[in-house]
């Protein structure tokens, strides 16, 4: 039995993560999902939040935006608007983005703009939460 599964995290800009790992924890729409190798095929949505990866003895953390996940026994494919590795998160920038998004929420927006701004807000909050929690914990 395969002890690893391939995790692929892809955004429109690039492939952020592509490695063999032991376990993945995803922020599913219906709650957190822990995926181990040989999971049954599953298709679901993810919300902005944090992906934790266990690879041998290492742990990786990434902040992601909204998107979709496809799970097969050997592979987990995550398609999302944004994905940043923990070490690459720029806290000041994220904070700035959060502030801007909150400001824009006060303005009058069309449905589409509102959805875009809300997504941007969720993304920056996800980055900030990950960074802060990792520092404190």
């Amino acid at each position: 039995m395969a002890q690893t599964l391939k995790l692929e995290i892809v955004t429109p800009e690039s492939t952020v993560y592509s490695e063999e790992v032991n376990m993945v924890t995803l922020p599913g729409k219906e709650g957190t999902l822990g995926i181990l190798p040989q999971h049954i095929p599953l298709m679901t949505q993810v919300t902005a939040g944090e992906i934790s990866v266990r690879k041998e003895n290492e742990h990786h953390h990434l902040a992601i935006g909204d998107g979709f996940v496809q799970v097969t026994p050997e592979k987990v494919s995550v398609m999302t608007d944004m994905a940043v590795r923990e070490e690459n998160i720029d806290e000041d920038k994220a904070e700035e983005a959060r502030r801007k998004a909150e400001e824009r929420l006060q303005e009058k927006l069309s449905d589409e703009e509102l959805a875009t701004v809300k997504a941007a807000l969720a993304q920056s909050v996800a980055q900030l939460n990950l960074k802060r929690r990792r520092r404190n914990g």
Binding site: G28, E30, P41, L42, M43
Partner: protein, 293 residues
């Protein structure tokens, strides 16, 4: 026989032209690099999306979405033509619009993206439903607008299907027009031009696995399909832009090379003429001196 002054004037004007084409070449080259990078970076996402959708739709055989069902029977098909805004990019638009011209004019309605397509369709008096424009670095919102209109038309049953005609980016020297089915989703084959330049098409493969959907197939597909279509449209805009800038850079490079060659030829002719004149003058002086002597 042109005088030396004529030739000098000509050289000057060709030089000016070559400076302009050279500048345009530089601009196109830097834009090309960005556009190519964007298009290539977007491909893994588009491919993964394709793959996922192929497997999922095959795995969710008992479920269907209006976007996957044939609709508007007997109605015309819509063709979205994605062209450039400006010319001076070689044969790019002519190749593209030749393909557009092949479409049966009684059975097709057109949607244009980019000014050249709109002009062509108006000139040939085709049925033009909507005109869109997109910026130099396409934005997702622009793609979403086009894709949304296409989806609405299709869902209302006003068209029986939607195709997209665009210029697929293969390499800097090679782009070709391609027609790609857009709606209904069941007809879709992937846009997968490899980095190597081969534009192999990835068929919707039969899924061997039955997928579990969370929360359920209906709501996941209802989110996934529109997003998929919007993203496809976005990727197509990126590909078109990459093609445009590549074609423009090559066309401008050729123009600059031609201008330089022309300058070289003209300079040679000018020098020949100048020398002939000097020889003539000398001849006149010596013969005059001999006549006097």
């Amino acid at each position: 026989m042109p005088s030396t002054r004529d030739i000098r004037r000509r050289i000057k004007s060709v030089k000016n032209t070559s400076q302009i084409t050279k500048a345009m070449q530089m601009v196109a080259a830097s834009k090309m690099r960005r556009a190519q990078q964007q298009a290539l970076a977007g491909r893994p996402y588009a491919e993964l999306m394709n793959e996922v959708l192929a497997e999922v739709t095959a795995g969710a055989s008992d479920f269907s979405h209006p976007l996957m069902e044939p609709s508007g029977e007997g109605k015309k098909r819509a063709l979205i033509v994605v062209s450039t805004d400006k010319g001076l990019c070689g044969a790019l638009n002519s190749n593209l619009l030749r393909e557009a011209g092949k479409a049966d004019r009684d059975q097709t309605v057109f949607i244009s993206a980019g000014r050249k397509a709109a002009q062509y369709l108006a000139r040939t008096k085709r049925e033009l439903l909507a005109e869109f424009s997109y910026k130099d670095s396409p934005e997702f919102a622009e793609a979403r607008a086009i894709s949304k209109l296409a989806q609405e038309l299709f869902l209302k049953g006003e068209v029986s299907g939607v195709d997209i005609l665009f210029t697929n980016f293969v390499t800097t020297l090679n782009q070709h027009p391609e027609i790609k089915p857009f709606l209904p989703v069941a007809e879709i084959t992937g846009i997968k031009a490899g980095v190597e330049g081969s534009s192999s098409q990835q068929e919707l493969k039969e899924g061997s696995q039955d997928f579990l959907f969370e929360p359920d197939a209906g709501s996941v597909l209802a989110e996934l399909l529109p997003h998929y279509l919007n993203y496809q449209m976005y990727q197509i805009l990126l590909e078109s832009k990459a093609s445009e800038h590549s074609a423009r850079m090559v066309a401008m490079k050729n123009a600059t090379d031609n201008a330089n060659q022309l300058i070289k030829d003209l300079t040679l002719e000018y020098n020949k003429l100048r020398q002939a004149m000097i020889t003539n003058e000398l001849l006149e002086i010596t013969s005059a001196a001999m006549a006097l002597g």
